[in-house]
């Protein structure tokens, strides 16, 4: 298989196509526009549909329509655009429809800026719109992982009939790295619930309106049983030098990469640091992190936000260990040096130096 230099955003688009996604609805926004641009170039040539909607709200409703018709569909945006799509994400989830939503995050709140950020962690992992629901949230750290997780996103969406969000940041979207696309056989289950014309079968209804509270409660309980299974079976994470680590960095996406440099630098100074990188943010890899808390002395949540994932870290380890943060926000990216400085400070507090 040939390795190509692929840009993160283009890798998302190409991987989606190889996963059988021939329907894309979106609206341009930096720093993810290459996803749409790639789809616009490719999809019409292979019998697919690329449509630039008049707004993010329109795009997500087109996604709902395509998903209800039983086809693989994706939309892509960046932070402010995802806020606009959030009403639709709630409806999509209320209808139990499978779709893939990409958020290449930029600084916020409001229009914010266009530089990389992770300040949509709460929005992504808590469901973003109103009502009782979650999206599965996948957080790639390399371009190869973008390819692999984009495909996985489609398979998971169909398997559980849920929305799956690919949560990246401006660094991952814009950078190029060697990656292999290769062959892929998508796992597409039968979709007997889809709206395909009702010829020769009873009609299907795709809807999120339940006026009977008992019935709505029942559907919500059923949906949450799915989430329980997802939390049990679909957790992904990566550990780097955690076996003997006193200090464990927790970081995903771009900071997850930068933490590797900091861990290597700390090790060179004789500090036993390690990195725990969640790959699924919902479900959060709580069990694995809790296990690390048996021996690690302190955790440091490294985020491009004012501190959002840190809550999940504390919940995971049940506050058994101190959890520090190393935070940059607004589009500013950590340097390995400042993370190393934080490691040193924590080592001092733990009496390790």
């Amino acid at each position: 298989m040939e390795k190509l230099m692929l840009k993160g955003n283009e890798a998302i688009a190409e991987a989606a196509i190889t996963a059988g996604c021939l329907h894309f609805f979106g609206y341009p926004i930096t720093p993810q526009t290459e996803v749409a641009a790639y789809m616009a170039r490719k999809l019409p040539k292979i019998g697919g549909v690329y449509l630039q909607a008049e707004s993010e709200v329109a795009a997500i409703n087109m996604v709902i329509g395509a998903a209800a018709a039983g086809v693989r569909v994706m939309t892509s945006s960046s932070s402010p655009g995802i806020s606009l799509k959030s009403e639709g994400l709630s409806y999509l989830s209320g209808c139990d429809l499978p779709a893939v939503i990409v958020n290449i995050q930029r600084g916020g709140p409001g229009l914010g800026g266009i530089q990389p950020s992770q300040s949509d962690y709460f929005q992504a992992t808590r469901g973003s719109g109103h009502g009782d629901y979650h999206l599965i949230v996948l957080a790639p750290g390399t371009v190869q992982e973008i390819v692999d997780l984009t495909r996985r996103a489609f398979d998971l969406a169909d398997k559980y009939r849920v929305g799956v969000m690919l949560l990246g940041d401006g660094v991952l979207g814009q950078m190029m790295e060697p990656a292999v696309i290769g062959e892929y056989t998508p796992a597409v289950p039968a979709k007997p619930w889809a709206l395909t014309g009702a010829s020769g079968r009873p009609k299907n209804i795709v809807n999120s309106l339940y006026l009977d509270p008992e019935e709505l409660e029942r559907t919500n309980f059923e949906r949450f049983r799915k989430y329980e299974q997802i939390r049990r079976d679909e957790v992904l994470f990566e550990e780097y030098q955690t076996e003997d680590a006193d200090l464990v960095l927790v970081g995903y996406g771009a900071p997850g990469r930068i933490c590797r440099n900091a861990v290597a630098a700390a090790r060179a100074e004789g500090l036993r640091a390690g990195l725990f990188r969640p790959v699924t943010l919902y479900p959060f890899p709580s069990e694995a992190l809790k296990k690390l808390a048996e021996r690690a002395k302190r955790f440091i949540s490294v985020e491009m936000s004012m501190g959002q994932m840190v809550d999940d870290v504390r919940l995971a380890i049940e506050c058994r260990r101190p959890v520090d943060t190393c935070l940059r926000t607004g589009g500013v990216i950590h340097t390995p040096a400042e993370i190393l400085e934080k490691i040193r400070a924590c080592a001092k507090e733990e009496g390790l130096i």
Partner: protein, 182 residues
């Protein structure tokens, strides 16, 4: 071994392409490599830059903060990044557009009149690749043999004219001996 490179200049000078080309030379040698562009408003006429990291290990941070090799196509880029360079850095200066000497202590400076060399050769848009040619020779960014392979990956072969022009620009930079008075 890891080499951190920063290429910077005006938007439109082919900064990102130059970086992509270098990234491909590394990919063809089986190295780990990352490429990260600036993507802000500077792309539309200000100072654009591009980080390229070539390593034997998986690349962590793709952002070059402390370049081992800095290639400045314009003065604002040299002003902005020169002091951040690593000790002993190789600094490539487009001396057609930058009319000052480098000042970073301990660095090795290469003055390449890339814009003029490209103009004289009738390929005025390819000063970027003249600089890359000089980088290949003087900083041993890759072997010369890797260059045409990387060119095949970055310039579509159906655009033969463009392919040849880029290769010629590389050769001009590669062969520039620095003694010519310009």
């Amino acid at each position: 071994m890891t080499r951190n490179m920063l290429i910077a200049g005006f938007g439109g000078q082919g900064i990102l392409f130059a970086g992509k080309f270098i990234a491909y030379t590394a990919l063809l040698r089986g190295k780990e490599v990352s490429w990260l562009p600036s993507y802000g408003p500077e792309m539309r006429g200000g100072t654009a830059n591009c980080s390229v990291i070539i390593s034997d290990e998986p690349v962590g941070s793709p952002i070059v903060l402390c370049p081992d090799i800095l290639t400045a196509l314009n003065l604002p880029s040299l002003d902005k990044y020169e002091e951040a360079c690593a000790p002993g850095a190789e600094i490539f200066i487009n001396s057609t557009l930058i009319n000052r000497k480098g000042v970073r202590a301990g660095a090795r400076f290469h003055y390449i009149p890339a814009t003029k060399l490209a103009d004289d050769a009738g390929i005025p848009k390819l000063a970027n690749m003249v600089m890359v040619g000089a980088m290949i020779k003087r900083a041993e960014v890759c072997a010369w043999e890797d260059a045409s392979g990387a060119m095949k990956k970055t310039v579509p072969e159906r655009k033969k004219e463009l392919f040849d022009a880029n290769l010629r620009a590389l050769e001009i930079g590669y062969n520039f001996d620095g003694s010519a008075v310009l």
